[in-house]
Subunit: 399 residues, 2 copies
């Protein structure tokens, strides 16, 4: 029997990503992929996970396998609150909502804060997954001017801020640019947003992954009563458990809980208890430095390969943490087309255009280095560097 | 610093449930609660879960802890397709989307199919969680006439069907009524819906929980190419893993996948693999009969207690499966008020009103029996029966 399905306007507006389709070939083992956004599985604490899962299924099997509270497993909420408080933003467990990955936090914020046409301020560029999550609620994205250090807070004028439902920020080692917002800009950003009555939504999956020195204070720490903060266990433990959290003030918190109840009732009880069993005794204090060191080493290899193989016309910054390097090529080069040529030579990356809410810079690209075998980095970057040189030469011939 | 948060229209329309607050007291151990919608933890196969989790973390730890495909773990999708095909609806794995509990399937369907004001047909009464999930997308609910056997298919006229985005049905042991839609009505329903071009969304968490005899064919089996089907592992295995699935035709399937990607990227890899490890060798064929037997015994105790303690003016049907009994009291009795009196005597149930999308029948209530200790059923029902008798007596005095 035929069935006629009428899709919602928001579903019709969803476009399938051509890049996603292209990048499926990167799963072939012969491809050197700088395209991944995945943490390195070498850092997953498998043995501890197994111990924790056994412990949970021994100590509290029925609770771990039964429905649980929408807000999350209380001891895990308490851990998050204590962790954030230790990092300088005083948070109570009653303000912590455990989510099914940090991505769900974005969906819930979209549900609670965005009407069709609502103004939402985003970075230039911003995290693609957030743009997708918010898009379902049909906002009017307004990109904030950004430079190599992130949001240009001087440009946050009354016009830009006026009437915005919220400002979405990734101050630490942003996906895709790897940028970290400097201390002075953090203060200025929170002040200007608060002055205009615009809530700041701080998405911070990479904040712990600084390569050296000390972390910068979170945006939340400048306004612990008024900010929204999103964290994740994906990059410091393992993403396959899908565990994140949102911290929000009332009355938003209550609405997020109601929206979550409608969305998936609650995050799996078993994985919440398992992660709590893994981290409760301070494990992350020993574990995260291992991840930092690995990523710093991989980043150094990438930097060396960039210097060696990329031409002077290409620009990039040295990340101070996280998983990504952002490269800007001369104008006129389309990295979407460059990707096709790279894949023909078994090298992959992510073109920058989809990360822009407004006018895309088609001459940008994102490189991830954390899952590429160290011995393949130089060879892969050589291929990519040669392709970039050829593109530049072609531009010069055309000019 | 103050932060002014403007909530979305949909968030403002969310109301916190007074009943949910009242029912929090049912967690006190002295309360005999017929309010639960929880499966019995006595049936959770804890030992097999532990074996499975160990096996997964030994055989494929990195894949289990890493990001995975949005559609779900392929062997689990294949299992679902084979299971549904065995039950009479030929389904290919490419049409199966694994969801974070069946509740997420409702959210994704809302995202993909509902615009503000879209007509959505629902049963009278219907599953509260679905009404909540769909409500976030601001549909116009149109209740379908229903009786003790479920949807009255004769009443599904052109006017009712015209322009509906979809029809939401729970044909097996519906929450809250426990009703099962008879075979002839199933055929008629699928035919009338298809004739009017209205997609049928079949929500089937309880279909396997028939107490005796054989299951009735699914609505999907009458239209395998055109129907949407939702299933869950919550009631046949354990809800704390939050695993469900949606089967949908193209182009809806692709939109559901995109919506899911924006909502939580994917359902936890670890729990998908764990459940697959538990069920792959046919475990559910031995396990589900154990659940059926337990629930049939508990239901029989409830039936006996209803006959013994409830007055002739109260009406109910004998469920043929599932977890719920629906009781209708004489008009004029408000079960919301009855609940307060019952809780004062340490007995709880769920009033029927919130399950209605249209005019609520305030004289109805839902009783669940699966988690109540057998030895407490009679005493709890005696309290409730006496309260009902008192209400009826008071009505008669007033009249």
């Amino acid at each position: 029997m035929t069935t006629h399905i009428t899709l919602s306007k928001r579903a019709l507006a969803l476009t399938s990503s051509a890049i996603r389709e292209i990048l499926k070939v990167t799963e072939r083992p012969e491809v050197v992929s700088f395209a991944g956004g995945l943490p390195s599985p070498a850092t997953f604490p498998v043995e501890r996970m197994r111990e924790a899962s056994n412990r949970v299924l021994t100590d509290a099997p029925h609770a771990a396998l039964q429905y649980g509270p929408t807000e999350g497993f209380l001891p895990l909420r308490e851990w998050v609150a204590a962790h954030l408080t230790r990092n300088g933003a005083e948070v109570s467990p009653g303000r912590v909502l455990i989510t099914t990955g940090s991505q769900q936090g974005l969906d819930l914020l979209g549900k609670a804060l965005i009407d069709e046409g609502s103004k939402v301020l985003v970075e230039t560029p911003s995290y693609l997954g957030a743009l997708q999550a918010f898009s379902l609620f049909q906002p009017n994205f307004v990109p904030m001017a950004s430079d190599g250090q992130g949001i240009q807070t001087d440009a946050l004028d009354a016009d830009t801020l006026d009437g915005a439902r919220f400002m979405y920020c990734l101050p630490n080692f942003q996906n895709p640019t790897g940028r970290r917002l400097p201390l002075e800009r953090r203060k200025a950003l929170v002040e200007r947003a608060a002055g205009a009555g615009v809530p700041v939504v701080e998405d911070d999956p990479y904040g712990e992954l600084y390569y050296s020195g000390a972390p910068l204070p979170s945006l939340l720490s400048f306004n612990p009563e008024g900010g929204v903060y999103m964290g994740s266990f994906s990059k410091v433990l393992a993403p396959g458990l899908r565990l994140g959290y949102v911290v929000a003030p009332e009355p938003l918190f209550a609405k997020l809980v109601q929206a979550k109840q409608a969305s998936d009732l609650h995050t799996p009880s078993f994985s919440q208890r398992m992660v709590h069993a893994v981290i409760q005794d301070g494990f992350l204090d020993q574990h995260i430095p291992v991840i930092r060191d690995l990523y710093a080493r991989q980043c150094a290899l990438m930097m060396a390969a960039l210097e060696k193989h990329f031409p002077a016309e290409a620009k990039w910054d040295r990340p101070e943490g996280g998983m990504f390097i952002w490269v800007t090529l001369p104008e006129g080069i389309d990295t979407g087309e460059l990707l096709l040529k790279a894949i023909a030579q078994n090298v992959a990356f992510v073109p920058g255009a989809p990360f822009f809410a407004g006018n895309p810079m088609r001459n940008t690209l994102r490189l991830s280095f954390v899952t590429v075998p160290a011995e393949k980095i130089d060879a892969g970057m050589e291929v990519l560097g040669n392709l970039v040189k050829a593109e530049i030469a072609a531009l010069q011939v055309a000019a």
